[in-house]
């Protein structure tokens, strides 16, 4: 612990990672950094190829290629600011609303380029749902929060059907019992953890094919976290899930594959079990053993 040093750009490095051949900063200007492990799978639901993301002229993602397999849960881990959220957001084009953000490379959903000129972002986001890092319920009733997505997509044909969607979504997000008597109360009046579960319910209410979760449990207590993890387990039968998390245990518990990001680069990706038991890259090892990050 005490032998760690902080370098000029704020990366905490142990003497081991300072070895020139492994130091990630050596690769910063190398456009083709070779990810260690197996980024590609056979039944890819979404696939990213050579993705670079820029905020103005600051590059946040460097040449990342990664597949997300159908019905799998992939965990994305890495130190703060390494670009996990950025990568997740380009997967359903949420970055479109940031004017300074530019995306290069190919990303496809079921083989169709989602940045293609014929791609409709409305349809894409209905198919690829998102739960954000900070809970962001609408300042409307709990019911309306969940019903909004199905309503604008015309998924419910009657009030009863809508009630049903709202109830099952809230149940799956393990929020229903807590709020069933106050569905008409504003969603913003809930606790932080409840709000996040409401956001999860809102995302699954439109039954997306892929669900992107950005640290969905960072505001939850262990019990609610366990429920969300159960939900993820349950959902993966029908959905594909990409989850960003800061909790190694959570990544180990819920995911089949794990991707480790560092300073915008995808360092290593592979079977969760393998990554956590025998990481190949020194940076990965340091991170998961808690030596930095």
């Amino acid at each position: 612990m005490n032998s760690m040093t902080v370098t000029a750009d704020g990366v905490i490095s142990s003497p081991a990672t300072a070895r020139a051949d492994l130091d990630i900063r050596e690769h910063e200007h190398v456009s083709h950094y070779q990810t260690i492990g197996e980024p590609f799978v056979d039944n890819a639901k979404m696939s990213a190829r050579n993705v670079n993301v820029f905020y103005d002229d600051k590059q946040a993602i460097f040449d990342v290629s990664l597949d997300i397999g159908g019905n799998e849960v992939i965990a994305m881990i890495g130190p703060s600011g390494c670009g996990k959220s950025t990568f997740l957001r380009v997967l359903n084009r949420m970055n479109d609303i940031i004017p300074i953000c530019r995306v290069q490379g190919d990303i496809s959903l079921d083989g169709d380029n989602i940045y293609g000129s014929d791609q409709d972002t409305v349809l894409l986001r209905a198919r690829v749902g998102m739960v954000f890092q900070k809970p962001n319920p609408f300042p409307k009733s709990i019911y309306e929060n969940v019903a909004y997505g199905p309503r604008i997509h015309g998924l419910a044909h009657s009030k009863a059907e809508m009630d049903e969607i709202v109830e099952t979504s809230l149940r799956r997000a393990s929020l229903f019992d807590e709020v069933k008597d106050q569905l008409d109360k504003p969603g913003t009046g809930l606790s932080g953890g409840q709000q996040q579960r409401l956001c999860i319910a809102r995302a699954i209410a439109v039954s997306p094919e892929v669900i992107l979760m950005d640290e969905p449990c960072s505001a939850l207590d262990p019990i609610a976290t366990a429920r969300i993890e159960e939900l993820i387990d349950e959902l993966k039968a029908n959905y594909t899930i990409a989850i960003v998390t800061h909790s190694m245990q959570q990544a180990a518990r819920v995911s089949e594959r794990t991707a480790y990001f560092h300073l915008g680069k995808l360092i290593e990706v592979g079977d969760t079990k393998e990554i956590f038991t025998m990481p190949k890259h020194e940076l990965t090892e340091n991170y998961i053993t808690g030596r930095f990050g």
Partner: protein, 429 residues
């Protein structure tokens, strides 16, 4: 690290605390003094206006014993309605007054006696007789509207101490009024005419209704034009327009437009709407359009600020479940920013309500007796009416001026209350 060090810090912080609190207290006092000064001035202003304006809401009546002799009226007892309308009611009132003060014989004095009663009384009496022709031939007491000068004396606004030459009401008139008062033949009543009549040359007959309706129609046009156009312009500029030279230029110009003196908009209205498009003069339609041009920048600027203040996370949330841009704006951004938009709009509308200069340019300064029935009828507005009355030499109009200002402020309060109510409704959702 060392406890000695942290002890020293505690001492240093403690030492500085006193100074910090003193500074805070001082700052609070500055604030209180500023607020109180504001209140004092507001209070003085309101007290002055209300003090001067309140008498405008009462009207003086004089009880006259009328002898509705058919001969005096100059009609046959079984006269038709048309004949009744043409009968000599003024003559009856005058002769009845002479009956009440038999000592008045001098021609000049007689004229002064007649001047105690408003010319409006004649029409009152006519209407009463046409309603009930059975009154002809009877002798009865009737309350007649007092002339403004007489009313002014009865309200205690004119003092006998003033040299007789300096006042319109002469000593003899004052004596008559005193004797009438002693016989309980004078009375103050709530001034309904003030709210049911348009402007008049006679202060006691002048009412605010025409100006009130004029203001209402003008603001209606202003609101219907400026609110939707302003809000949609703000939404477009904030949410859809690309950021480039052109939109920057538009933004700068909107800000500049907000600083243009209002009379310039009046000139524009005169040149474009009246001279070029030949829209009617003095009409609330033109006034409303001109005022909406003036209000538009205010609404756009405040609406944009309100839209900017909507947290981006709400937009992300809506887009994230697949809402289109338009749905995001209409379902989430606008409802959340509506309280701010309404506040801005009401400020703009309040400015428009108090505006008179541009309306003078388009002829809304005319003497309007008839209450406008629509946006194309000639009309005037409350601030212009205030201006007109303030400009009149008759002292009866002084109280009317303050009364009109009170009505104007009442209008403003109603408008604000409406805005607060709407804002609450949006905030609850």
């Amino acid at each position: 690290m060392s406890s000695a060090n942290s002890y020293k810090n505690t001492a240093a912080i403690k030492a500085s605390l006193k100074k910090r609190y003193a500074r805070e207290r001082r700052f609070q006092w500055y604030g209180r003094i500023a607020v109180m000064t504001g209140f004092v001035f507001l209070f003085i202003l309101l007290a002055d206006i209300v003090g001067k304006g309140l008498p405008a809401f009462t009207q003086q009546y004089i009880k006259v014993t009328l002898d509705l002799d058919a001969d005096r009226l100059g009609v046959a007892p079984d006269a038709s309605e048309a004949e009744l309308l043409r009968a000599d009611y003024l003559g009856v009132i005058r002769s009845s007054l002479r009956d009440m003060f038999p000592e008045v014989t001098d021609r000049k004095e007689k004229r002064q006696l007649y001047r105690l009663i408003s010319i409006g009384a004649e029409y009152d009496l006519r209407d009463a007789v046409v309603d009930d022709p059975g009154l002809i031939g009877q002798k009865f007491d009737k309350w007649l509207l007092a002339h403004a000068e007489a009313a002014s004396y009865l309200k205690g606004q004119v003092s006998r101490d003033l040299p007789e030459g300096d006042r319109k009401l002469k000593n003899t008139q004052m004596d008559w009024l005193d004797s009438l008062r002693d016989r309980d033949r004078t009375e103050g009543r709530f001034n309904t005419l003030f709210f049911t009549e348009g402007d008049s040359r006679e202060p006691e007959l002048a009412g605010i209704k025409a100006a009130l309706y004029g203001s209402f129609f003008t603001l209606l046009v202003t609101f219907l034009l400026a609110f939707p156009v302003g809000v949609f312009a703000a939404v477009y500029l904030e949410e859809f327009a690309p950021r480039n030279r052109l939109t920057d230029l538009i933004e700068i110009n909107i800000n500049n437009l907000a600083a243009v003196p209002s009379i310039v908009f009046g000139l524009l209205g005169l040149a474009v709407f009246i001279n070029f498009f030949e829209l009617p003069r003095s009409a609330p339609l033109v006034g409303g359009v001109v005022l909406s041009l003036m209000t538009l920048p205010t609404i756009i600027i405040t609406s944009r600020a309100a839209i900017q203040a909507v947290p981006p996370s709400i937009r992300e949330a809506a887009l994230g479940v697949g809402a289109s841009k338009l749905q995001t704006v209409f379902h989430h951004v606008l409802p959340v920013s509506m309280p701010g938009i309404l506040t801005g709009s009401i400020i703009g509308m309040a400015q428009a309500l108090g505006e008179s200069a541009p309306l003078l340019m388009i002829g809304m300064v005319a003497f309007i007796m008839d209450v406008p029935g629509g946006v194309t009828d000639p009309a005037t507005v409350l601030p212009v009416q205030v201006f007109l009355w303030a400009d009149s030499p008759e002292r009866g109009f002084t109280e009317k001026t303050s009364g009109a200002i009170m009505v104007l402020m009442g209008f403003l309060i109603v408008m604000n209350a409406l805005a607060i109510y709407l804002r609450r409704r949006f905030e609850l959702k």
